[in-house]
Amino acid sequence: MAWAGKILRVDLGKGTCTSEPLNMKWARDYIGQRGLATKYFTEEVDPKVDPLSPQNKIIWATGPLTGTMASTGGRYSVITKGALTGAVACSNSGGYWGAELKMAGWDMIVFEGKSPKPVYLYIENDNAKLLDADWLWGKSVWDTEPAIKAKHQDPQIRVSCIGRAAEAGCLYAAVINDLHRAAGRSGVGTVMGSKNLKAIAVRGTKGVGNIRDPKGFMKATTEAKKVLADNAVTGQGLPKFGTQVLMNVINEIGALPTRNHRDVQFEGAKDISAEAMHQPRKTDGKPNLVTNQACFGCTIACGRISKIDETHYTVQNRPEYWGASGGLEYEAAWALGAANGVKDLEALTYANFVCNEDGFDPISFGATVGAVMELYEMGVLKKEQLGIEAPFGSAKALTYFAELTAKGEGFGKEIGLGSKRLTAKYGHPDLSMSVKGQEFPAYDSRGIQGMGLAYATSNRGACHLRGYTVASEVLGIPVKTDPLVTEGKAGLVKAFQDATAVFDSAGVCLFTSFAWTLANVQPQLATACTDEFTLEELNLIGERIWNMERDFNNRAGFSSEDDTLPKRLLTEPAKTGPAKGLTNGLDKMLPEYYQLRGWDEKGHLKPETRARLGL
């Protein structure tokens, strides 16, 4: 079976590292990674716990396919109670760290308590120990990783760590691995920082050898890779243009949130798009995009590697930013760009570099800056408070705020609270474009109706990675549906949410789902793990995971009242584009969704739903 069969429990208060066997019943019921770690988390943690207290726990988890030859099998997730949201948090990352942990022989690491002083965890196969990190505290991600490699004299160590944003208490701080891959959302990095845990450094040389049916697995993974290669999206589109290819599409259909969702189309979209990243610059004749990059075992390779124009104001005489590094993905380009009306591609790339360098979520950061700019234009926030003029469209304000937020300095301390707390503090809570405290990603739900329901019901707050109905409503995957209607969207959202939970628990990347269905994942999981993983069983597991997360949130105090959208999206119609005149019709979708879920009118699981799902 592809599970390592072993978890590492680290008591940060006592400074101990203990190996314990994986609960194999739970592994069969929840697969791994998101599902399995959330099972451990919800069994062990009081839902009412303060996310930043020692009583909160935080788990790094792989899936059974992590570290195997399955395409994209390099994923891991960080599971905790989110600092930004107070809801269950599960942030997923690629790169190479997850596979390294698995090859060291561990399925997951559970951290509990709080260390009295900064530490990092060092793992070399079976051996794990906590080491002093006083010398690392105060360092960025970009300084921490090479410093650990140098200390241990091993360049092949993989590092998952926090930067200065988490240390400074930014509530949407991320966990970063391999310098620019992020478990980005909900403030999982903030929780890591609250425990005085700076980094997890891993070296694994054992491989993943315990595949249940090796020949069957090789056949299944080979066939699945062919599906990815033959598919126009995963075989050609994503490698060449990355996720950024969406910028012009979403703008064209009138669903690109612009200037804090005041508008749904951005006149500068073409300037910050995938196509723009390919265009040679006038200054140096080189494009912003240097190359694409793949994570461990990935046969798609959608990652963007970019280089900033050395003459741009952000990096003049700053050679430390002249290297090629993680470039703009669609969500970051939107949040740093359209959400603020900024169309300077180099400035966005720089802000994105800073987010990676010091570990904070560009979506929540950019969207919070959007709220700040609106408050500035309303006269609520002044230059004297902010330290800079901050109208919509100001690239200089954006990059200035990024630098402040990275270190928790000046007004960056307040931007680090996120838009919900910031707008409430200044008397305009309606201007926070968020659900359950987490800021929206890059799709306006007036122009893509199903996403309104997906956002409102997402278990980790507003998120595109919990039920990506954009695939169907806009891109025609697996079938095209009309983005402007609410009919049929309750079932669509539920189907996407449940299937996504399986992808996120298997150890593979969600982007495979542009070509794969669960029918392509099932043979890989069955041959790797157990023939009990039938397609029917996987569908049931996905639904079980969703409801387990929901149940935790309900016990944490969330209810149907939190399954809503900001007033702006429910009452202010889109001004332009195909959705002109439309608001989001959440009230038309939510009751049907609850019914399909088997929840009562308060959004709680009915007894028969619990019984059916084994919860």
């Binding site: 598919n231 999206v233 243009f241 993905e329």
Partner: protein, 88 residues
């Protein structure tokens, strides 16, 4: 009549840099088409492979594959075409 043709992602290769004195800007080109032109006719005129014309929008509204041969364009329309794409 004049319309705007937008070819994105890999289809950008099918959009000429200049046509009848009009210069391409980014992925857009103003073009002259006959009054009776359909969506499908313009796609074929620029040699865009039909199989790759996956996401076809007129003024942001999706035109299903089966309707393209009968969808007549009007002056000022914006026709945008993408191959199969995704992201997130």
């Amino acid at each position: 009549m004049e319309i705007t043709l937008k070819l994105f992602a890999t289809l950008g290769d099918y959009l000429p840099e200049e046509l009848n004195g009009r210069v391409r800007k980014y992925n857009e080109l103003q073009i002259e088409v006959d009054e009776a032109s359909t969506v499908q006719a313009v796609i074929e005129q620029f040699n865009v492979p039909t199989a790759l014309a996956h996401l076809v929008l007129v003024n942001g509204v999706f035109i299903p594959r089966h309707a393209r041969a009968n969808s007549r364009l009007r002056v000022g329309d914006e026709l945008a075409v993408w191959p199969p794409i995704a992201g997130g």
